[in-house]
Amino acid sequence: MINGGPSRGQVVLSMEGVTKEFPGTPPVRALRGIDLEVQRGELVGVVGPSGSGKSTLLHIMGTLDLPTSGRVTVAGYDVAELSDKDLSAVRARHIGFVFQQFHLLDGYTSMDNVGDGLLYTGLPIGARRELAVATLRRVGLGHRIDHPAGKLSGGERQRVAVARAILGRPDIVLADEPTGNLDSKSSDAIVELLEELNSDGITLLVITHNREMAERFSRQVSIRDGLIESDSLAMGVGA
């Protein structure tokens, strides 16, 4: 179910001892034992330099890739027990993605790009468009509904991508360097939008190399060489 995930305060994402090795000579150990829990309603910034394993972490959280070892649970589903088809189903209904490169289909209007957020749930296009229009208004693009995505500015494109990610109110939205291709003004606007959406109850995990940006989020997790260096939540609890 689209809104049938865990209730507020529940764990929507958990990782226990997650490692990821890429074969090669020598093998690359991208993640070396990650333990992380994200609860419903959190806004988490995962920050780390390039090569620290953040993208791999996001792929494994998003079920786009599987860990070499360790346990990953998303929206209550144990990833290890799911087939490729089931993982697709989890992504379709429980996870939203925002990418640095936006990944919009330029031939589509903003509305249909956003509507694609629920394309693989079987929801008919009429219902998707209706939801998409409301969501576009929510992210401040009410005037760009029928605009071809290819003709939008970078900031607008990323807003469309955000709208697509939150269309079905997934249990968690994973954003991979969402401001990486934007100028500072557009970046600020996107970060503000993410904060607003979080205060509406959307669980967000944002991956970035920008420490300054991460500091604006309520919880920061710092990652280096495939290990969690610090977690503000743990520190807060400890203090």
Binding site: F97, Y120, L123
Partner: protein, 398 residues
């Protein structure tokens, strides 16, 4: 449903089609060009089938009209084959063969025809003079374009009926007037329509037996017989004709059936049809390779889109289906366009040749079906490749 109660990813039927259409529409130029390849292949197949069928049906109706029961008996000519004349009794003997309906004897007269008596004798225009009986028109199934044919009376007098080509060369469009034939003035009482089974008579001026004897000093010997038989007895009649015509030297008699030549022509055309079908098939194959090529490039270029779709919850099957459907749509557009184009060519050419248009339905249905099969085969490999792409790999390319 699974053990963990997951609702599977699925696509609404209309979205499957919409996704494929948009995929093609955003690369319209390339899609059009690759569909064109299939279109040309299908068009050539349909046109070849349509044209060969139309021409065949035209031939069949021509044969029906002319009848395949006309047999021509000629005196053999050439070394050791005699004088080029049939025995005097030939026509009478042939008439006695039971299944023979009509016999008409034609003889050659050594004379030339001119428009007037002041035309130099060297300018004979290639028109021969033939002595014919009154059965000729009936035996040949010929028709008059103008005037009337020779009858009992006109056969005795200096009158002539001109073949279609002879009339044209002499400048006659209708009966009436005179020609200078063998040193005499002959009245033109009729002009024939072209005779499809004996075009040598088209280039002749025909005179009656009596007139030939009286005015042209003809010996009355026939050189050819036109024999119309019972359609069921053509072969047996042809078998007995040589011995009947010339019992002493049956091998000096040539028996032929003019419609055999038409059938031989049709057989020759069939051989070309097979060749052209082969060429059309090659064109179709090249079109299929073109689609496969375009789809492979498309998969490479659209890795980002494939990654996005996987992230949005598409299964491998959804991705494969999208690319396969794109290839199928390309081929379908090419197939439908090709069938239309091939039918158009057939209509145009048949109109010019005055044929009735006949396109076998199998060519229309088969054309579209062949295109779709080619599309499916061409799209399969790229589709599988797209589906096998891992989501992370696909997303990493920009």
């Amino acid at each position: 449903m699974t053990t963990q109660g997951i609702v599977r990813s699925r696509m609404h039927g209309s979205d499957v089609m919409r996704t494929a259409v948009v995929g093609l529409r955003t690369r319209l130029m390339r899609a059009t060009l690759s569909a064109l390849g299939i279109m040309i292949g299908i068009a050539s197949l349909v046109a070849v089938l349509g044209l060969s069928e139309s021409s065949k049906s035209d031939l069949i109706s021509q044969l029906d009209r002319l009848g395949t029961n006309l047999v021509v008996v000629q005196a053999g000519t050439g070394i050791g084959l005699g004088t080029g004349e049939l025995p005097e009794t030939a026509a009478v003997m042939v008439e006695r063969i039971g299944p023979v309906d009509d016999v008409s004897a034609v003889g050659d007269v050594d004379a030339n025809v001119y428009r007037t008596d002041i035309v130099p004798s060297s300018r004979s225009g290639g028109i021969s003079v033939k002595v014919v009986d009154q059965n000729l028109l009936g035996a040949l199934g010929g028709e008059l374009a103008s005037g009337r044919f020779l009858d009992d009376a006109s056969s005795e007098y200096p009158t002539t009926v001109l073949g279609a080509v002879a009339a044209e060369r002499l400048g006659f469009t209708e009966a009436g007037g005179k020609v200078y034939l063998g040193g005499q003035w002959f009245a033109v009482i009729g002009i024939l329509e072209p005779l499809e089974l004996s075009s040598n008579l088209d280039r002749a001026a025909l005179v009656g037996i009596g007139a030939a004897e009286t005015y042209l000093d003809d010996d009355g010997v026939a050189s050819a017989l036109y024999v119309r038989t019972d359609p069921d007895w053509v072969d047996p009649v042809m078998g007995v004709l040589p011995a009947t015509v010339n019992p002493e030297n049956p091998d000096q008699v040539e028996v032929s059936r003019p419609t055999d030549a038409l059938e031989a022509r049709s057989a020759a055309e069939s051989a070309f049809t097979a060749l052209f079908l082969g060429l059309g098939g090659v064109a179709l194959l090249v079109g299929g390779v073109g689609i496969a090529n375009v789809m492979v490039i498309s998969v490479l270029e659209r890795r980002g889109e494939i990654g996005l779709r996987r992230a949005l919850g598409a299964t491998r099957r959804h991705v494969a289906l999208q690319f396969l459907l794109e290839a199928l749509l390309l081929a379908l557009v090419g197939g439908v366009g090709g069938v239309a184009m091939g039918a158009g060519v057939t209509y145009g050419y048949a109109a010019i040749r005055g044929w009735a248009v006949l396109i076998p339905p199998i060519a229309l249905i088969g054309g579209v079906a062949a295109a779709v099969i080619i599309g499916a085969v061409a799209g399969l490999y790229p589709a599988v490749r797209a589906a096998r792409l891992s989501p992370t790999e696909a997303l990493h390319t920009t």
